[in-house]
């Protein structure tokens, strides 16, 4: 074990650690926004739209993220949409995440008793009023712990951007290994860095779940 080498490369590793955080943040925001829109549109109750949205969710949940990433990175340029490594990773992660987020929100919305929606309708509220003032706040409460769980997966999944050559944390470890050898040292260091971000967030999700749903256990 030669961790002196890792220490020497610490700024290179730190640099790509920031890149991983940046990509994670972008993907989390993108995935949440798109996922919310999908969940909202599914509430509109338009049959053909529902079918299309379900197909979207099932497609992105039913195929590997890695394949989606390749498809976007190599496929979009063929239809004259230029994507660089960041955009390919960002688009793939956003689509993938949005499918999971949409499902989390959907189950959150379904957990709200129908009476809430009916009462709001009886009070003369329109669809958007009903959704944003009555349904969404309550659904958010139920959805928050699993949502944070999805975010942890996103942070881990940014490592897949390695395969299209985006210079995030895993890629940097790979490069350092190819240049200096000592794969175990570099990979374990990087694994600990991922752990340092993901573990506190996972714990937060668990704590929220205990706090928000005391009856579940």
């Amino acid at each position: 074990m030669n961790f002196a080498l890792v220490w020497e490369a610490r700024w290179l590793i730190f640099d790509s650690f920031l890149v991983t955080l940046y990509l994670s943040a972008c993907a989390i925001v993108g995935g949440t926004v798109v996922g919310m829109i999908v969940a909202l549109l599914r509430q509109a109750g338009i049959r053909s739209l529902n079918l299309a949205l379900r197909a979207y969710v099932e497609l992105f949940r039913g195929t590997p993220l890695l394949m989606q990433l390749f498809f976007i990175y190599f496929g979009l340029p063929l239809v004259s949409i230029p994507v660089d490594r960041f955009w390919a990773a960002f688009i793939a992660l956003t689509c993938f995440t949005s499918a999971y987020v949409a499902e989390v929100f959907r189950s959150g919305i379904e957990a709200i008793p129908r009476g809430q929606s009916e009462a709001a309708t009886a009070l003369g509220m329109g669809f958007f009023h009903r959704f944003f003032w009555i349904i969404a706040p309550q659904a958010m409460r139920v959805s928050l712990p699993p949502l944070i769980g999805v975010y942890v997966s996103v942070i881990k999944d940014t490592s897949l951007a390695t395969v299209v050559g985006y210079n995030e944390l895993t890629r940097r470890a790979m490069e350092l290994m190819l240049r200096f050898g000592h794969p175990l040292e570099f990979f374990i260091t990087v694994a600990l860095l991922y752990f340092a971000i993901c573990y506190p967030i996972s714990k937060l999700s668990e704590a929220l779940e205990r706090k928000l749903t005391p009856t579940a256990r």
Binding site: G75, D157, V163, L184, A191
Partner: protein, 220 residues
């Protein structure tokens, strides 16, 4: 751009072979995952503090680091400790270890879900510890854990695509290979996506059927 769908059929056998390897890897990873996962779940509910701590550390470390990195550690890292494995072996073991951490949590949640009354009833009927474990706790825990177990099988099936990063020719690996050789990127990835969806549906159906057989719905 023009699509060349007619060129696709001759790659179907290769894709099928890839799908077969994907299934095999999933199966191997699940088998390893169940064995280690059960041991870890037992460790997490053990009476001994050290065991609980070690099992907890293992589970949390694996659940909070990327699977791709775990695969790299096993494939690139282990040879420096003198443990050399083929890509398929290293990848399957890495996936198995990954699955085991999630399974440990699933099993533990199942064990926690067994009502105290069932255990008390078993004690009242003077079951031994082993009998209670075999006839009361495990079956009830398995029934509770089944839906989460099924979800995990699907996510491991999808995660097996990561093995393409260490050049294993499973479904994603073979798709990349065909794509780079023929430039039929769009066509071949679309077909491969369909393969994955089909695999998903088939495995889900199989699991649902198994669930019905193992745990018939009961009236309460």
């Amino acid at each position: 751009m023009a699509f060349h769908w007619t060129a696709i059929p001759r790659f179907i056998p290769q894709l099928l072979a890839g799908a077969q390897l994907t299934l095999l890897i999933t199966l191997a990873a699940m088998a390893l995952g169940i064995a280690i996962g059960a041991a870890m779940a037992a460790g997490r509910v053990s009476r001994f503090r050290v065991l609980r701590l070690l099992a907890g550390l293992y589970v949390e470390f694996i659940r909070n680091t990327p699977a791709l990195l775990q695969i790299f550690i096993l494939f690139f890292g282990m040879p420096s400790l003198g443990l050399r494995m083929s890509a398929v072996t290293a990848g399957s073991i890495a996936l198995g270890l990954n699955a085991s951490a999630y399974l440990a949590e699933i099993f533990r949640a199942g064990l926690n879900g067994v009502p105290a009354g069932s255990r008390e009833a078993a004690i009242a009927l003077s079951f031994s510890r082993l009998h209670m474990l075999a006839y009361v706790t495990t079956p009830l825990a398995m029934r509770a854990a089944w839906p989460a177990f099924c979800n995990l099988v699907i996510s491991i099936l999808l995660a097996s695509s990561l093995l393409s990063a260490i050049s294993v020719y499973e479904l994603t690996g073979i798709t990349n290979d065909i794509s780079t050789k023929t430039f039929l990127t769009f066509e071949v990835y679309s077909i491969a996506a369909l393969f994955y969806v089909a695999l998903n549906i088939a495995v889900s159906l199989l699991l649902a059927l198994t669930g019905r057989l193992l745990f018939p719905p009961q009236s309460r």
